[in-house]
C-alpha cells in the first residue's frame, strides 16, 4: 500500500502514480490513438478512391461541348448531356418547391409542440419515410401521377424526389430550431409576439444556416437518385423544359450509358458521373462554408 491511499487529499495523484502505471497508460494511449487514426483513414479511403478514379476516368472525355450539346447517337463523336443537366435542375427544382415549405412548417410544429399527437406523428412519420428505399418513392409517384396521366413527366420525378427530401429537410430544420437558445423564443413572446411571428422573425433567421445546410444536403442526395427516375422522368434525348414531359436526368443518363455495350457511351457515363460528383461535392462544400460563415457572422453563443 502506498501513502496516497491513506491520504488521498494531501497527496496529488500525479506524484502517487507509479512508473509502471504511467508507462502502461502511455502505451494504451498510443494504441488507441493509432486505432482511431486507422479507422479514420479507412473511412476516407473510399471517398478519395471514388473521387480520384471518377475524376481520372471522366476528365478524359470532358470538354465544353459536353455541357452545351445534346447527346449524339452511338458512334457519332462529340455531343453532350445538356439535356440531363437541365433535366436534373428541373426535377430537383420541382422537388424543392414542394418539399421545402412543407418540411419547414412541419419542423416548426414538431419543435414547438413535441408532445402533441400531431408532433409525435410528424416525428414518427419522417423517421419511417427516411427509411423507405428510394425506388419505392419512384413506384409511388408512378402509381399516383404517371399512370393516371398516362405519361412520364418531370413533375412526377419532382414529386418522388420531394418525398425523399422531405424527411431530410424536416429533421435538420427541427434539430436546428431546437438548438436556438430558449431565451430568444421567450424574449420574443415576452414582447407580445405570437408563436407564428416568433417562428418566422426570430427562430427561422437564427436557425437559417442550419436549415440551408440541410436543404443543400437534401438536394445533393436527391440529385443523385437514379432508381425513382426510371419510373418517373424516364429519359429523353431532347432538351425539355416542360414539367409535363419526360426528361433526361444525370443519374439516369449515367445508368443508361454505363449499361450500354457501346464504348463511346461508357466513356460518356464516366464524364457524366464526374459532373454529378462535382455537383454533389460542390453543394456539400458550399453548405459547410455557409454554416461556418453564418456562425461567425452572428456570433451565436448564448
Amino acid at each position: 500500500m502506498n501513502q496516497t491511499q491513506n491520504h488521498p487529499r494531501t497527496s496529488a495523484p500525479l506524484l502517487g502514480m507509479s512508473k509502471a502505471h504511467f508507462a502502461r497508460r502511455k502505451i494504451t494511449n498510443i494504441v488507441m490513438l493509432s486505432l482511431t487514426g486507422a479507422a479514420t483513414v479507412l473511412a476516407i479511403i473510399p471517398l478519395l478512391w471514388i473521387t480520384l478514379y471518377v475524376t481520372i476516368q471522366g476528365s478524359r472525355f470532358l470538354n465544353i461541348e459536353f455541357f452545351t450539346q445534346l447527346p449524339t447517337p452511338v458512334g457519332v463523336p462529340g455531343g453532350g448531356i445538356v439535356n440531363a443537366i437541365v433535366g436534373t435542375g428541373l426535377v430537383v427544382g420541382v422537388a424543392c418547391v414542394i418539399a421545402i415549405p412543407v418540411a419547414i412548417i412541419g419542423a416548426f410544429f414538431a419543435a414547438d409542440y413535441p408532445n402533441t399527437p400531431l408532433g409525435l406523428a410528424i416525428r414518427f412519420g419522417t423517421d419511417v419515410l427516411s427509411g423507405i428505399p428510394s425506388i419505392v418513392m419512384g413506384i409511388f409517384a408512378y402509381t399516383i401521377i404517371v399512370l393516371p396521366q398516362r405519361r412520364f413527366s418531370a413533375f412526377a420525378a419532382g414529386v418522388a424526389l420531394a418525398i425523399i427530401m422531405l424527411p431530410l429537410v424536416l429533421r435538420t430544420t427541427e434539430e436546428m430550431l431546437k438548438l436556438v437558445p430558449r431565451g430568444l423564443r421567450e424574449g420574443s413572446l415576452a414582447l407580445g409576439a405570437s408563436n407564428w411571428k416568433t417562428s418566422v422573425q426570430v427562430l427561422l433567421p437564427a436557425a437559417l444556416n442550419g436549415v440551408v445546410t440541410g436543404i443543400m444536403l437534401a438536394i445533393a442526395r436527391a440529385a443523385g437518385e437514379a432508381a425513382p427516375m426510371l419510373f418517373t422522368a424516364f429519359g429523353s434525348t431532347g432538351l425539355v423544359t416542360d414539367l409535363n414531359e419526360s426528361t433526361a436526368t444525370l443519374p439516369h443518363t449515367i445508368y443508361i450509358y454505363a449499361m450500354s455495350p457501346f464504348k463511346d457511351w461508357q466513356e460518356k457515363a464516366w464524364a457524366a458521373a464526374l459532373v454529378l460528383i462535382a455537383l454533389v461535392l460542390g453543394l456539400n462544400i458550399l453548405a459547410r462554408a455557409l454554416t461556418w460563415w453564418r456562425a461567425r457572422q452572428m456570433g451565436l453563443n448564448y
Binding site: 408532445n115 430568444l184 424574449g187 413572446l189 414582447l191 407580445g192 409576439a193 433567421p205 456570433g299
Partner: protein, 283 residues
C-alpha cells in the same frame, strides 16, 4: 455573541438603505397586480403554494429568497411565461387591473404586451441594435419616422443611447453583457408595457453594469410597475419599495413567508425565518 453579530449585520442593511432613498409606499397606492392563492405545478410537483400578494402601481417590488424556492416560477406566472413549459398547471388567480390573466377568454399575447419581461441572461435577438428595439413596435404596426423616434427614446430611457447611437446597425450581440441587458430593457420599454418583470437581471453582470441597471430601475419606477427577482439583498434594499421573502416548505413548494415595506423587512422582520435569511444564517 450571536445576537451582536446579527444586529451588526442588520446595521449593514440599514446603511445600505440610508445610502439610497427607498421608495415611499403609502397605503393609498393603487394595486396594479393582485395574486391570490396561487399554486403552480410542474407535472405533479408543486413549485408554488398559496401565494397571495398585492403589487402596487409605479413602484419596485422585490422578491428575494434562497435558490430554487420558486422565485422565477412565481415571476413567470405573472405574464404566463409558465405556459411555455409543457405539463404545467396553475390554480388561483393573477389579476392585472382587476382582470384575471388566466381567464379562459384572455388573449395571452395581449397579456404579454402589457406585462413585459427582462431575463436573467441578456437575450438580444441576433439582429441589429435598431431592429432589436424596433421588434416590438413593428409587431404593433409602427414604422417610418415614428419607429425611429420610439427606438431613440427607448434607448435613451434605457441609458444606452449615447453608447450606441453611432452603431445602431451593428449586431446587438456585439455589445458587452451590461449593454446587452440595457438593450433588452430598451426593447421591453419600446412597447410601453405597464408592468416590467425582471428575473435576476444583474446576475450575469459586473458591478458597474449592475449599478447602471439599478440606476435605470430607479428611473423607471416612476412610470412602470416593476417586479424584480434578485438574490442580491443589497440590491433589493437599494431599489425596492416592497420586498417579498420566499422560502421552501418541507415538500419543496415555494411559499411567501413575509411581504411588506423593504425598510421593515430588512430592519425589523416579523418572522424569524426572514431574519435568519437576511442575516445570512440560512441559504
Amino acid at each position: 455573541m450571536l445576537e451582536t453579530t446579527q444586529s451588526e449585520r442588520l446595521g449593514i442593511f440599514t446603511r445600505a438603505l440610508s445610502g439610497n432613498t427607498p421608495q415611499e409606499t403609502s397605503a393609498d397606492t393603487k394595486t396594479k397586480m393582485r395574486v391570490q392563492n396561487l399554486d403552480f405545478y410542474y407535472g405533479n410537483f408543486r413549485a408554488i403554494a398559496g401565494v397571495t400578494m398585492d403589487i402596487p402601481e409605479k413602484s419596485i417590488t422585490a422578491i428575494i429568497g434562497s435558490s430554487g424556492c420558486g422565485k422565477s416560477t412565481l415571476l413567470r406566472t405573472f405574464n404566463r411565461m409558465g405556459d411555455l413549459v409543457g405539463h404545467t398547471r396553475v390554480r388561483g388567480s393573477v389579476t392585472l387591473d382587476g382582470e384575471n390573466i388566466y381567464d379562459r377568454n384572455v388573449d395571452v399575447v395581449l397579456v404579454r404586451r402589457r406585462i413585459g419581461m427582462v431575463f436573467q441572461r441578456p437575450n438580444p435577438f441576433p439582429k441589429s441594435i435598431f431592429d432589436n428595439v424596433a421588434y416590438g413596435p413593428r409587431l404593433l404596426g409602427v414604422g417610418g419616422k415614428a419607429l425611429e423616434q420610439i427606438v431613440e427614446q427607448s434607448l435613451r430611457d434605457a441609458a444606452l443611447w449615447d453608447e450606441v447611437k453611432d452603431k445602431l446597425h451593428q449586431s446587438g450581440l456585439a455589445l458587452s453583457g451590461g449593454q446587452q441587458q440595457r438593450l433588452c430593457v430598451a426593447r421591453t420599454i419600446a412597447v410601453k408595457p405597464e408592468v416590467i418583470l425582471m428575473d435576476e437581471p444583474c446576475s450575469a453582470l459586473d458591478p458597474i453594469a449592475t449599478y447602471k441597471i439599478e440606476e435605470l430601475m430607479i428611473q423607471l419606477r416612476n412610470e412602470y410597475t416593476i417586479v424584480i427577482v434578485t438574490h442580491n439583498m443589497q440590491q433589493a434594499a437599494r431599489v425596492s419599495g416592497l420586498t417579498a421573502f420566499m422560502n421552501m416548505n418541507p415538500d419543496r413548494a415555494g411559499v411567501l413567508v413575509e411581504f411588506g415595506p423593504t425598510t421593515q423587512i430588512f430592519t425589523n422582520p416579523a418572522k424569524k425565518e426572514t431574519e435568519d435569511y437576511i442575516t445570512g444564517r440560512f441559504g
